[in-house]
C-alpha cells in the first residue's frame, strides 16, 4: 500500500524493510512452521483431561512398569486411604501420576519415582516375602512411615518418596472429587469475607487461584 502522504525519502531503513522474495518465502515458511506448532499447542489445550481408569494398576504406564504401577497404587491407597471420601487409589492417582510424569517432568524425576517404588517393593519382598501392593493398608503404611523416619531407608530414599507424595497430593486434590468433595470448592465465591467461623464440618478450600 502506498499513501500520498508517505515520506519515503526518510525511510533510511527502506532496504531492510523491503523484503526480497527469497527472504519473504524463508520467513513465511518459518511463520507457517510456527503457526502449525501453535495449532498443535492449541490442540493440546483442548485435549481431554486425564480420565481415571480402573485398570491402571494392571498394566505398564507411559513412564512406569507394570510392577511399579502396582506398587504405586498401593502407595496411593496407603498415603490417602479411603475415609468418608475415596482413597487416592480409588481416584486412580497412580494412573494420573504416570500421565503427569510423562508430560511435565524430566527423565531424572522419572528415575526418582521408579527408584522409590522399587525400593518400597524390595523392602516388602525382603521383610514380608510379598509384593507391596498385596499387603494390607496397615502393613503398607508401616513401611512408608519407616521411609519418613529413615528407618532402613536413606536420606535420598526419603527425598524420592517425598517427591512421590508431592505428585500424589497434587493428583488427589486437583481431581474433581478431591477438590470438590474431599475439600470445599467455590467456583464463584461471590465476594471475599475476611472472617468466617471454623466448625467441625469446615473443610479446607479446594478452589485456589493457582495450582
Amino acid at each position: 500500500m502506498r499513501h500520498p502522504n508517505r515520506a519515503g525519502q526518510d525511510f533510511a531503513t527502506e532496504s531492510q524493510f523491503n523484503i526480497t522474495r527469497r527472504h519473504f518465502i524463508k520467513r513465511l515458511s518459518s511463520i507457517v512452521g510456527g503457526s502449525s506448532a501453535i495449532a498443535l499447542a492449541g490442540t493440546s489445550q483442548v485435549a481431554l483431561a486425564y480420565s481415571p481408569r480402573k485398570d491402571s494398576a494392571s498394566q505398564a504406564g507411559k513412564v512406569l512398569s507394570k510392577a511399579q504401577m502396582k506398587t504405586l497404587s498401593g502407595v496411593c491407597a496407603a498415603v490417602l486411604p479411603r475415609t468418608d471420601t475415596p482413597s487416592a487409589a480409588d481416584l486412580d492417582c497412580h494412573g494420573f501420576i504416570d500421565h503427569q510424569l510423562a508430560a511435565c517432568y524430566e527423565a531424572s524425576e522419572h528415575q526418582a519415582v521408579r527408584a522409590s517404588l522399587d525400593a518400597i517393593d524390595a523392602y516388602a519382598q525382603k521383610h514380608s516375602q510379598r509384593a507391596f501392593h498385596t499387603l494390607v493398608n496397615a502393613e503398607r503404611q508401616a513401611i512408608l512411615r519407616k521411609i519418613e523416619k529413615r528407618n532402613g531407608f536413606s536420606e535420598v530414599q526419603k527425598a524420592q518418596f517425598t517427591f512421590v507424595k508431592e505428585l500424589l497430593l497434587f493428583g488427589y486434590f486437583t481431581s474433581e472429587v478431591g477438590a470438590t468433595e474431599a475439600l470445599a470448592y467455590q467456583a464463584v465465591p461471590g465476594g471475599y469475607k475476611g472472617s468466617t467461623p471454623v466448625t467441625e464440618d469446615t473443610k479446607a478450600w479446594g478452589s485456589m487461584n493457582y495450582y
Binding site: 499513501h3 486425564y50 474431599a182 461471590g190
Partner: protein, 578 residues
C-alpha cells in the same frame, strides 16, 4: 461491537491520531482521543481478543486441563522458557503470554534478563496484577533529593487530578489511609483483612508506627456502581483467576474498561496483527507522518498515517520502535538527539521475602479468594529515612493464609490422620515479600542487536542490565528487617531469603525508563507532557517515560500520565501548535 467497521487492515485515510499498543496506556489514549472527537487508529501487534468471547479457560476447574493447569515441559522448553517464570503462567493463562521462540532477544555476557510479553489486543492489561497505587511527592522528588537519575519534570500536583480521573473510571478498591508517602486514591470500598492480618496490623502499629500495614489497593470493582454497570461491569466475585480474563469485567482491563467507551464513540479503528516496524518521519517538517507495519501473519507490509502518534507499546516495545526508526537527522533512533534512548532501564526488585507461622486463630477462616493482599508502603521514602549503606527503600506486599495440601508433602504423615489434616484448614502463615526500588543507572541499557533479527525482520533487543550493589544491599536489609518485624509480631518458625541471583531484572514485569522525561532535552527524550523534545507530534506515554521507579506498582501512573498527555496534546492540536 461493530466488528466489521471497527477492525481494519488497509486504510487510505489519514487519522487524527495513531495509538501504538492496546494495553493499559494504549487503551486509555484511545478512549480519551476518541471521546474528544478525534479519529483514532489503535495498532496492536497481536491477535484480536474479544471481551468474554475469548476467555476460553475462564471458570474451569484444574481437573478440566490435561495436566491440571501445569504446562507440558516440552512446550515450555521449546516455546515458553522465559514466560513460564511468571507466577501467573500456567495452562489456563498461557494464551495471553508471548511465545519465546518467536520473540527472541539477547543479553550481554554476564547479564541476564527476563522479558515477559503480552502481545494481544488488551496487552498485559489482561494479565496484570492490578495493584494500584499513586506515586507520591516524595517519589517524584526522589531523584532531585538524592542525586540518582534526573529530576522528574513533574510533581504530585501535576498528576493528582489525573489520578482521580482514571481511578473513578477504572475502579480502584482501597481505604483512605491518610499517608503522606502513599496518597489516597478515589476509592471503592476496601477488601477485608482476615483475622490474622488484623492482628498483624495491630502488632506493627504498636512496634513499628512508621510502617503502617494497609489493605492492598487494586483495580477491582469491590462494589457495583451505576457508572460501572453502564459499561457492563459488575462486582468482583473474588475468584482471583483474573489472568484467564473476567467476564464480570470486575477488574480493569482494556477490554472491560477503556475499549468499550472508545468503540462507542464511533471514532475508533483497530488494526490487529500489525507489528510496527518503525515510524515514518518527515525531516522537512520535523513531524512523524505515520507508521510502517509488518503483518503478524503473512509478513506483508503496509503503512498507516496520522497527524499525531502516541507510542503506548510498552516500555521496551516503544523504545525498540524508536531505536529502529532511523533517518539522516536521527541516525541513532527517532527523537534520540539526547542519546539517552534505551538507557536508565529500571524494573522493581521483588527478591526478598520472609514468613512464618502465626499461632492461634484456629476458629477463624475466610471465604473467597481475595484479589489483593496487605501492603506496607515504603517507609524509607526520603533521604533522612534511608539506611546508611544504600539509597531509597522498599514496600512490602503480603498476606495471611491457612495451610492447605500445597507444600504438605514435606510434612511427615501417612494415612487417615494425615489425610484429615489436609482436608481441614491448616496453620496460619503470614508472609512478606519485597517491592524494592531500582535506581536509574546510565549503564542499564537496551540497544538494537547489530545483526540478530526476529522472524518479522525486526532487529532484536539486546539487554545490558543488571542489579547494582544498591539493589543487593537493599534486598539483604529487607530480608533482615522483615524477619525482625515478624518475630516481634509473634510469628514462629520465621525464615527469610534473598533471591537476587535467581531472578534477573525484568522478573517483576515492571519495565520502566529507556525514554525518560526531563526538563533538559540534552539528557532526556520526553518533556513533562510525554511529548518528545525533538518532534512535537510524537508522544510516548508508557513506562519508558519514568525517571525513577519508585516502589509502587506503576500501571496507575501509566494511566494518569497517558490521560494527562492526551489532554495536553488535544489542546495543542486545537491551538494548531501540533
Amino acid at each position: 461491537m461493530q466488528a466489521s467497521e471497527l477492525f481494519l487492515k488497509e486504510a487510505q485515510q489519514t487519522f487524527d491520531v495513531i495509538v501504538v499498543g492496546s494495553g493499559i496506556s494504549g487503551g486509555w489514549a484511545a478512549k480519551e482521543f476518541t471521546e474528544r472527537g478525534f479519529k483514532t487508529l489503535m495498532i496492536e501487534r497481536g491477535r484480536k481478543v474479544e471481551h468474554r468471547k475469548d476467555y476460553p479457560t475462564e471458570g474451569k476447574g484444574p481437573w478440566q486441563f490435561p495436566q491440571r493447569q501445569k504446562v507440558d515441559n516440552l512446550l515450555i522448553e521449546e516455546q515458553y522458557k522465559v514466560q513460564s517464570k511468571s507466577y501467573a503462567f500456567n495452562d489456563a493463562t498461557k494464551h495471553f503470554f508471548g511465545n519465546d521462540r518467536d520473540l527472541p532477544y539477547s543479553t550481554e555476557d554476564g547479564t541476564d534478563f527476563r522479558w515477559f510479553r503480552g502481545n494481544q489486543l488488551g496487552g498485559k492489561s489482561l494479565t496484570w496484577h492490578r495493584q494500584s497505587y499513586r506515586m507520591s511527592e516524595f517519589d517524584l522528588n526522589a531523584n532531585k533529593a538524592d542525586g540518582h537519575g534526573n529530576d522528574w519534570p513533574i510533581r504530585y500536583a501535576d498528576l493528582a487530578p489525573w489520578y482521580s480521573y482514571v481511578e473513578k473510571h477504572a475502579g480502584i478498591s482501597g481505604n483512605t489511609d491518610g499517608l503522606a508517602q502513599l496518597p489516597d486514591s478515589e476509592s471503592l470500598p476496601p477488601f477485608e483483612m482476615n483475622a490474622a492480618e488484623v492482628s498483624m496490623q495491630k502488632q506493627f502499629a504498636e512496634h513499628y508506627p512508621d510502617r503502617p500495614m494497609i489493605i492492598g489497593r487494586c483495580a477491582h470493582l469491590s462494589q457495583t456502581t451505576d457508572y460501572h454497570l453502564q459499561h457492563g461491569r459488575i462486582t468482583c466475585q473474588a475468584r482471583d483467576e483474573c489472568q484467564k480474563g473476567c467476564s464480570f469485567g470486575a477488574y480493569f482491563s482494556t477490554q472491560s474498561s477503556t475499549l468499550p467507551l472508545a468503540v462507542a464513540t464511533g471514532n475508533l479503528s483497530i488494526a490487529v496483527d500489525s507489528i510496527v516496524h518503525s515510524l515514518i518521519y518527515d525531516e522537512a517538517s520535523n513531524r512523524v507522518k505515520g507508521v510502517r507495519i509488518i503483518d503478524n501473519n503473512d509478513l506483508s507490509t503496509r503503512e498507516y498515517f496520522a497527524n499525531v502518534v502516541f507510542l503506548c507499546a510498552s516500555t521496551l516495545g516503544s523504545t525498540q520502535v524508536l531505536l529502529n526508526s532511523t533517518s539522516k537527522r536521527f541516525p541513532n533512533g527517532l527523537a534520540n538527539s539526547s542519546g539517552v534512548l534505551g538507557r536508565y532501564f529500571m524494573d522493581h526488585n521483588y527478591n526478598a521475602r520472609s514468613g512464618g507461622i502465626l499461632p492461634g486463630f484456629e476458629d477463624e477462616y475466610y471465604s473467597g479468594r481475595r484479589p489483593t493482599g496487605i501492603y506496607v508502603p515504603n517507609f524509607q521514602y526520603e533521604p533522612s529515612r534511608y539506611k546508611k549503606h544504600y539509597a531509597r527503600g522498599y514496600a512490602l506486599g503480603g498476606s495471611a493464609n491457612r495451610g492447605s495440601w500445597k507444600g504438605a508433602h514435606n510434612r511427615d504423615g501417612i494415612g487417615a490422620d494425615y489425610k484429615n489434616s489436609l482436608t481441614t484448614p491448616g496453620d496460619w502463615y503470614f508472609g512478606f515479600y519485597a517491592q524494592g526500588e531500582m535506581l536509574p543507572r546510565f549503564d542499564n541499557q537496551v540497544t538494537l542487536h547489530p545483526s540478530k533479527k526476529d522472524k518479522w525482520g525486526m532487529p532484536q533487543l539486546h539487554f545490558n542490565v543488571s542489579w547494582s550493589d544498591n539493589e543487593r544491599l537493599m534486598m539483604e536489609d529487607c530480608a533482615e528487617e522483615c524477619e525482625k518485624m515478624l518475630k516481634k509480631a509473634g510469628l514462629q518458625y520465621v525464615s527469610s531469603e534473598v533471591s537476587l541471583d535467581e531472578n534477573p531484572p525484568g522478573s517483576a514485569i515492571h519495565e520502566l525508563g529507556t525514554a525518560r522525561m526531563g526538563r533538559d532535552r540534552k539528557d532526556s527524550v520526553l518533556n513533562g507532557f510525554n511529548q518528545t523534545h525533538d518532534i512535537p507530534n510524537l508522544f510516548v506515554t508508557d513506562g519508558s517515560a519514568f525517571c525513577s521507579s519508585a516502589t509502587v506498582n506503576p500501571s496507575l501512573t501509566f494511566m494518569a500520565l497517558t490521560v494527562r498527555a492526551v489532554d495536553y496534546c488535544a489542546n495543542e492540536m486545537k491551538q494548531r501548535r501540533i
